[in-house]
């Protein structure tokens, strides 16, 4: 059962600002979704190794060589907060 506190907690973790009327709407909807996914509990998964990726390959290694992709300037420029070659944000740590 998802409570109002649960919704507020996951909204905080998700960096969402919810309006009062949204809290109840999401509580009900999230509750319905969780009820469905909790049906998984009936499946016996004892000693089953989780499968995190369907592709069973090892890492592809390459030489660690610096290459210029020639897009770094454009990446910085796309930010609203770019100044010169950096992104400047309000102070993070008080």
């Amino acid at each position: 059962m998802i409570t109002k506190e649960d919704v507020l907690k996951v909204a905080r973790l998700s960096k969402f600002k919810l309006k009062e009327e949204e809290i109840e709407m999401f509580r009900e909807q999230l509750n319905n979704i969780i009820k469905v996914v909790e049906q998984l509990k009936s499946i016996n998964t004892k000693d089953v190794e989780p499968l995190y990726s369907p592709l069973e390959v090892s890492n592809h290694f390459r030489q660690d060589v610096v290459k210029d992709c020639e897009i770094s300037e454009d990446i910085i420029k796309s930010s609203e907060y770019s100044r010169g070659n950096v992104i400047v944000t309000p102070k993070v740590v008080g």
């Binding site: 996914v37 998964t45 989780p50 390459r62 930010s79």
Partner: protein, 485 residues
Amino acid sequence: MIIEKDAFAIANAVKNGEIKAEDVARKFLNYVKSADKKVEAFNSLDEERIIKAAIEVDKKRDRGEELGELAGVPFIIKDNIMSEGEPVTCSSKMMLGYKAIYDATVVKKIRSADGIPFGKANMDEFAMGSSTENSAFRMTKNPWDFSRVPGGSSGGSAASVAALMSPLSLGSDTGGSIRQPSAFCGVVGLKPTYGRVSRYGLVSFGSSLDQIGPIGRNARDTALAMNVISGYDQKDSTSAKTGVSDFTLSLDNDIKGLRVGLLEDHMLDGTDSSIVSALNKTKEILKDMGAVFKKVCLNNISLSSLEAYYVISPAEVSSNLSRFDGLKYGAKVGSPKSVEDIYLNSREHMGDEVKRRVMIGNYVLSAGHYDSHYKKAYQVRRIIFDEFKAAFEDVDVVLLPTSPTTAFKIGENTGDPVKMYLSDLYTTPANLAGIPALSFPVDFHDNLPVGMQLIGRSFDEALLLNIVSQFEKRVSLPKFRRMDV
């Protein structure tokens, strides 16, 4: 009429000099101008850029150089895939104003094959949805019935191909987002094996589930597109080194003796009778062509894929969407007092479905739920993976519906997220197992297309395309609907 031709025919005509790539582009642009007023499949279309690219193809031919497999072929790109210099919005207000600064590997490959990236297709916001109704910008219509949805999330990609606005498009498929809209719009849509097609330049949704794939009006065009976009890419660490052979070469193979797996009858409970009868009809046709049928035991796949999917994909999405912090790109938030302000005010531009999934993801990942939900879902995924593996020892492919219904009415399912999720019932298993699956049109019911799904072994896309190609020889269905008559 060049716009009614398939990609194969257009490429040949351009290669042989029967028509210039520029003329092809102009004819399509001209048609799209009126057609898209009805369908609303495009988020953006840069005419100048398209004509320029087409002229480059013509110049290449004039210089006597050999043209690529997609010579002059318009190719619509889903709006979550980067095409340099063009907007990439993911149909989210969060991304308004952002332009891609590099080409996704698939787009680069289309250009190298002399294809013409032809605008960006509408979709559910960040690819979350099964109807394209979650787009923040426009409501794409089903070309066969404007009161119905095109499916989703690659709704714009599927609708544009069915409405003749392009012979080919790219979609992305995390839980059915290529196949379900392809079924709803009566076209062929393929989700390749995980790792077959590079994801570099695709905005990530569920990283262990996402695949880019082609949508076309027949098996041959879809195979042609696969030839171009497949292959190892150093820029995608989950890209497979498995070799790629010409997908068109096996299209004409006889399917006599093909072993086709079917779900147990009770697994189809709750599926529309029109879909079940189309499944039986398809079975009879394939049987007549020499295929043999066998029931396969896929109990966990049918019963728990959807549940596992709706833990795994939100968990992965909650992590992937944390990059949308308002700092690097996306919605402008004015003059913030703190970084927290930037996060909260920019992420307010995300729609309700996106918020729901991110919150579900953070819920299942948080302390107290991790083992019981998150880990459990990946364990169930292993069971599903093994179940497919066992099934494919007895059969070559599995035949099942793509979706439990045909295209539903706009607004019909929007109030109930769980009801909308049920649309993904038959499509999520292939994403969880990472195996290839395609949807192909088999029938019409009440003037709406019905699609069936074929799921195959890893890297066996060629067989799926082969079966569809043979089926097309027996069954002739309307392939498109013109919007200007």
